[in-house]
């Protein structure tokens, strides 16, 4: 207690629990009032954050590389959409269905995928998403094919908050779900299970040597991340009220991974920051130059990979380290 009082201010701030999270929540609330006509875009940003968090659980904690998280995202989107149309239009029930669909697909494919490593694994994750897209395109009777799944009408959230035309409810709803997912992952990554995922990340050989069934643990992580990606997909379906086969697109998986690397892996908050920065650049740069904005992103990613390997979240600590050495 007394020791922490003698620390310099930045260090003391870093120890306040949930300070960064509270700050981000405040920013998210402010955005609602600052950009009242971009709520659709802002909601998309929040949903991407949920998706990127699911990838961080895999890559940042368990060391499982994937370029196919859109598979589970898309599965969640279609499941939630179909559920709303044919069964029950309650949003929260839809989220549960989306999570279940994402988890089921991840579990099923994970039983095969988690036997593979490295490049083989990455190729397989891409393949699964491509197969899903193919199925969504072909199964016109169920999915509406390339026209997409239409006619999703959601009931009010909790029976109270009607989805409105400008997306106000959608925004707060997505923000609440993001906060819940973040807290859940915070708990899970600090748990014994989370520690064992970090163990697999560091050394599968040592994990086996302490008696861990590494394959099973990887499958469990993949399924859990699949459930969270499924929630992200379900959110999209509910908020935009449309699901097209593009939910399985490779570019979505790849961009989500880039956002995560940009912000920093293995920290949860890094993914949030990565999405915010990527989407801000996308939004502003694309408005100025719709063709070349990717160069800006490319340069940023290169800069991060070469100069701040821990991602942008690690920038403050790094600068402090540099200044400390210079003094």
């Amino acid at each position: 207690m007394t020791e922490s009082l003698t620390l310099p201010l930045p260090e003391r701030l870093a120890r306040v629990p949930f300070l960064a999270e509270a700050l981000l929540l405040a920013i998210a609330a402010a955005m609602f009032f600052l950009l009242p006509y971009s709520l659709g875009f802002l909601t998309r940003v929040l949903i991407l954050m949920v998706l990127v968090l699911s990838i961080d659980l895999l890559l940042g904690f368990a060391g499982i590389a994937t370029l196919g998280q859109a598979a589970m995202y898309g599965a969640g989107a279609y499941a939630a959409g179909l559920f709303a149309i044919h069964v029950w239009a309650d949003p929260l029930a839809g989220l549960v269905v989306g999570a279940a669909a994402g988890a089921a697909l991840a579990l099923l494919s994970g039983l095969v995928l988690m036997r593979a490593q490295g490049l083989t694994l990455i190729m397989l994750t891409i393949a699964v998403a491509q197969i899903c897209m193919e199925i969504a395109n072909k199964a016109r009777g169920v999915t509406g094919g390339s026209d997409g799944l239409r006619g999703i009408r959601m009931d009010p959230v909790l029976g109270l908050f009607e989805f409105d035309f400008i997306g106000q409810t959608g925004y707060w709803y997505a923000l609440a779900v993001l906060a819940a997912v973040f807290l859940l992952l915070r708990l899970v990554t600090r748990s014994a299970f989370g520690l064992s995922l970090r163990g697999i990340h560091d050394s599968p050989a040592r994990m086996t040597a302490i008696g861990t069934p590494v394959y099973g643990r990887r499958v469990a992580a993949y399924a859990l991340a699949g459930a969270i990606a499924g929630i992200a997909g379900a959110l999209t379906a509910q908020v935009t009220q449309l699901v097209s086969p593009e939910v399985f697109a490779f570019t979505l998986s790849a961009e989500a991974l880039i956002m995560l690397v940009l912000g920093g892996t293995g920290r949860l908050i890094g993914g949030i920051i990565g999405v915010a920065i990527f989407m801000t650049v996308h939004h502003t740069a694309a408005a100025h130059d719709p063709f070349n904005w990717l160069f800006v992103i490319g340069a940023m990613v290169l800069g991060v990979v070469f100069f701040v390997p821990g991602g942008l979240v690690s920038l403050p600590a790094r600068l402090r380290g540099l200044m400390g050495r210079a003094l």
Binding site: V188, S196, P213
Partner: protein, 248 residues
């Protein structure tokens, strides 16, 4: 028969035979050393016993039960543990986390999803006791990658002991440890539970003679001879091997 029992074990990598008809017993309480020149197949033998490698032929039983079909992790859960010749730690974790994880796994609690991994008093006390045993207490909260190599060797051993194994195989535990710290290793080995079966692979003969009550000499994958330290040090074949060769 109690303990570990190996019969007719063979292993070759392509044309290279690294284990040839090995018969080997390690009853509870044993203190055996496995010595032999570089490349004799000592580490390979340890890998065969722990299930990291599959033998070409032969049987391995533990307390009379065949464990040859069990995977490595399953053998560890039965109580057969090994330290690595090449230090293999959880490099992004602190020293405490490196010790906490095997304890949680051993107790079957490494799948708990909600409680913080450091919230169990009993586990934390055990971690602290291990840290103190290896004089690592002040370093507990440092990333293990920041420790000196000798200290990392100590963590390697503490981590394996945290599993409370019934058979412990130490693959060159003192290699690379500065002589100022090697007494810690010896002390730790001497303080191991009496009924634990210990096999130590080591080039350092001082250490071998301090600890081993039985020595097995392996040359080119074959057991050359086996006996008490006194017998082995008198054995002309062994003398030739060690005094005649460059290696001591």
């Amino acid at each position: 028969m109690q303990g570990l029992c190996v019969r007719g074990l063979n292993k070759s990598f392509g044309g290279l035979t690294v284990a040839l008809d090995i018969d080997f017993d390690l009853p509870p309480g044993a203190r055996k050393a496995l010595i032999g020149p570089n490349g004799a197949g000592k580490s390979t033998f340890a890998n065969l016993v722990t299930g990291i490698l599959a033998p070409s032929s032969g049987t391995i039983t533990f307390d009379g039960q065949d464990i040859g079909h069990l995977r490595e992790a399953a053998r560890v859960r039965r109580g057969i543990a090994k330290t690595f010749q090449i230090t293999t730690l959880f490099r992004s974790m602190t020293v405490r986390e490196n010790l906490r994880l095997p304890i949680l796994q051993r107790d079957g609690r490494a799948t708990g999803l909600w409680r913080r991994s450091d919230s169990d008093r009993g586990v934390e006390e055990e971690v602290t006791a291990l840290l103190e045993q290896f004089r690592l207490a002040p370093l507990g909260d440092l990333p293990v990658s920041q420790l000196a190599y000798g200290q990392q060797r100590l963590v390697e051993m503490a981590l394996t002991l945290a599993l409370r194994p019934r058979v412990l195989i130490l693959d060159e535990p003192a290699a690379g440890v500065p002589s100022s710290e090697s007494p810690l290793i010896i002390e730790a080995i001497e303080r191991l539970p009496q009924d634990l079966a210990v096999l130590i692979i080591e080039h350092d003969m001082d250490l071998v003679f301090r600890i081993a009550r039985q020595i097995v000499v392996l040359v080119a994958g074959r057991i050359l001879t086996e006996g008490s330290p006194a017998e082995i040090s008198r054995d002309p074949k062994v003398r030739e091997l060690y005094l005649g060769g460059a290696h001591v």
